[in-house]
């Protein structure tokens, strides 16, 4: 093959590739827009319907918001379901769960990362093995246990177990392996810092990014949890948002003011959407880090 021929083929190849890249880019944009539409459409309808009154809703759907947003909000506040109480319960449980899960998982990870002791390998393997066992399979014994402990119908039964969160531990351990040099810990020791103080004042601040990501995930996980809370909490005043939503579903919902129903759904998911929009970069990055570095 002579020089000229090589040149033309390479140029032709380039052009053909350029055209196909344009076509592929076009297709991928179309698919991405369709998929984004599918993801957002439901929330758009929810938002629109939360602004409309019951009588407007019965007339059919319109793509434009109406003027009853505040009215629905006021109706929701004076409604029969203790939804604001539920919001506070959900918030308290989710915040405490997130706090305990991240702090103690960091502590557990630090124990395995920074010290050499007998049974260390076994502990690490053991925690990894229990990581995937779903809570559902032990919930029967769990309910009997908290019944005996007098923790039935008590939010503590949902909060305290978060101290042992294998998945959060695993993430923390991965993060420590890549970012926490042991020389730093040794330097602190030479300066006379106690082990516990080193952990609280040096390790925890260094772990901040990992703690933030996992705190968000634990918070959202607890906020969205329905299975265990529904079995543990019985009093209306103690229930969390998902349980109240389930109650709404089992009530004769046709008698409800539908504007209020949409408002209630919006009320229970928009806080998470707002938190997500603020932290989305860290969250999306956090999934990648936690998921595959294993």
């Amino acid at each position: 093959m002579d020089m000229a021929a090589t040149n033309t083929t390479s140029i032709a190849g380039q052009q053909e590739k350029g055209a196909s890249v344009h076509a592929r880019r076009f297709i991928s944009y179309i698919v991405l827009i369709l998929v984004s539409f599918l993801c957002l459409f439901w929330f758009y309808v929810l938002f629109i319907n939360a602004t409309r009154s019951n009588s407007e809703l019965s007339l059919g759907f319109t793509p434009f918001p109406s003027t009853h947003l505040v009215e629905n909000w006021v109706n929701l506040r004076s409604g029969t379901l203790p939804i604001f109480n539920g919001m506070i319960n959900s918030l308290v449980i989710a915040l405490l769960t997130a706090g305990l899960a991240t702090y103690f998982s960091a502590m557990t990870a630090y124990a395995i990362h920074a010290y050499d002791f007998k049974g260390k390998k076994f502990m690490f393997t053991f925690i990894l093995m229990i990581m995937m066992i779903p809570t559902q399979v032990t919930v029967l014994g769990f309910l009997q246990l908290i019944g005996k402990m007098g923790l039935d119908n008590n939010a503590l039964a949902l909060i305290v177990p978060a101290i042992a969160s294998p998945a959060v531990f695993f993430y923390m351990k991965q993060y420590m392996d890549s970012t926490l040099p042991l020389s730093l810990v040794e330097a602190a020791r030479i300066d006379g810092s106690g082990e516990f103080r080193t952990f609280n004042q040096i390790v925890v601040p260094l772990m901040k990014p990992a703690i933030a990501v996992q705190a968000i995930f634990s918070f959202v996980g607890s906020w969205n949890n329905y299975f265990t809370p529904a079995l543990v909490l019985h009093d209306d005043t103690k229930k969390t948002l998902p349980i109240l939503l389930a109650q709404l579903r089992s009530a004769d919902w046709l008698k409800f003011d539908m504007g209020q129903v949409y408002m209630m759904i919006a009320f229970s998911i928009f806080p998470v959407i707002i938190v997500y929009l603020i932290f989305s970069k860290h969250i999306v990055g956090g999934v990648t880090l936690g998921g595959v570095k294993g």
Binding site: G13, S20, V21, R24, R25, S28, V31, L32, V35, S36, C39, W42, V45, L46, G60, F104, S105, M107, T108, A111, I112, F117, K120, M132, I133, P134, Q136, V137, T138, V139, L140, G141, F142, P161, I163, A164, R189, F199, V220, N224, Y226, F227, L231, L241, P242, L245, R249, W253, Y262, I265, S268, I269, V272, I273, Y276, L277, V284, V287, T288, G294
Partner: protein, 302 residues
């Protein structure tokens, strides 16, 4: 104090820092696990107001639960809905992952799209299910839209048909999880040595060939990981069908899942059968988890 004793005294802190995890794990997970298994060997249920048992009956609960026909039905239901959600999810995720990581495409607004596709994963499943229920109800907005557009003459009863209920549940599962899967697969794709792609391009491979011949085979470990973790998640399917069907799994219990069945036994305090069902689920997830464990571990060696 000499140096050696100091080293020993440091390492003892390893045990001290492990105490909270171990104590809480033993109390709130180990004891429940053991007592769940223990319960599975006893006849223990409530019939009306009278409490029957607990009487030791050996493996009879297991025999009952396997032979009375409910468990196989609900297992099949769960698997059908998982597969219906998983196939479009993995196809979509592979496609989007390949596009996002393809340097020659140079897609714009990637952050926006990634943010949007991950959003449904964070939404409360019960709120999402409740939302779908109201949207797809007989007089709901979807029906009114379809009638306005002339697709249907009268409202379609989405909640009255076995396959439409299953499709709704599978759609929700797919929407909630494809963003997560995409991000996992993307991370895997970015981990592939770029020189392999370059070499293939120099050899004149088309992007389709590159995808099938290089990306997919090298992604196999992560694909299997994604598949098995999704299967474990699928076996735990609960919130969405529970709320969408109000716990009945109707029509004709065709959308009743294993965990909904367990939940029913727990609510009616039917502890013997609930125990046997839990052990059954524990064994299945245990086996699946071991497979995942093997995969994650072998990757670490690399």
């Amino acid at each position: 104090m000499n140096k050696k004793s100091k080293v020993v005294s440091y390492n003892k802190w390893g045990y001290i820092f492990l105490i909270p995890f171990v104590v809480i794990f033993l109390i709130f997970q180990m004891i429940p696990l053991v007592s769940t298994i223990y319960n599975s060997f006893f006849e223990n249920y409530r019939s009306g107001l009278t409490q029957i048992g607990p009487n030791f009956i050996g493996l009879q609960n297991y025999a009952t639960i396997i032979t009375n026909g409910d468990l196989p039905t609900y297992f099949v239901n769960t698997m059908i809905m998982w597969i219906m959600g998983f196939i479009p999810q993995i196809v979509l995720s592979l496609l989007l992952g390949a596009w996002f990581t393809d340097p020659s495409l140079r897609l714009k607004c990637q952050t926006f799209f990634k943010t949007v596709i991950y959003l449904p994963n964070l939404i409360m499943a019960s709120a999402f299910a409740m939302l779908f229920f109201t949207l797809f109800s007989d007089s709901g907005p979807i029906n009114s839209m379809l009638i306005q557009m002339g697709v249907f003459k009268e409202a379609y009863k989405f909640m009255g048909n076995e396959w439409s209920v299953r499709t709704l549940i599978a759609t929700m599962n797919c929407l909630m999880w494809f963003g997560n899967t995409t991000i996992l697969l993307m991370a895997g794709m970015l981990g592939i040595d770029p020189s392999l792609f370059e070499a293939a391009q120099v050899d004149g491979a088309t992007s389709t060939q590159i995808f099938y011949r290089i990306t997919l085979p090298l992604l196999k470990p992560i694909l299997i990981f994604v598949m098995i973790t999704s299967l474990i998640g699928g076996l735990q399917m609960f919130d969405v069908p529970q709320i969408l069907t109000n716990g009945t799994g109707d029509p004709m219990r065709s959308s009743m899942t294993l965990i909904m069945y367990l939940n029913k036994h727990l609510f009616s305090k039917n502890y013997g059968l609930a125990g046997a069902l839990s052990v059954f689920l524990f064994v299945i997830t245990g086996i699946l988890s071991l497979i995942v464990f093997k995969f994650t571990n072998s990757e670490k060696v690399k």
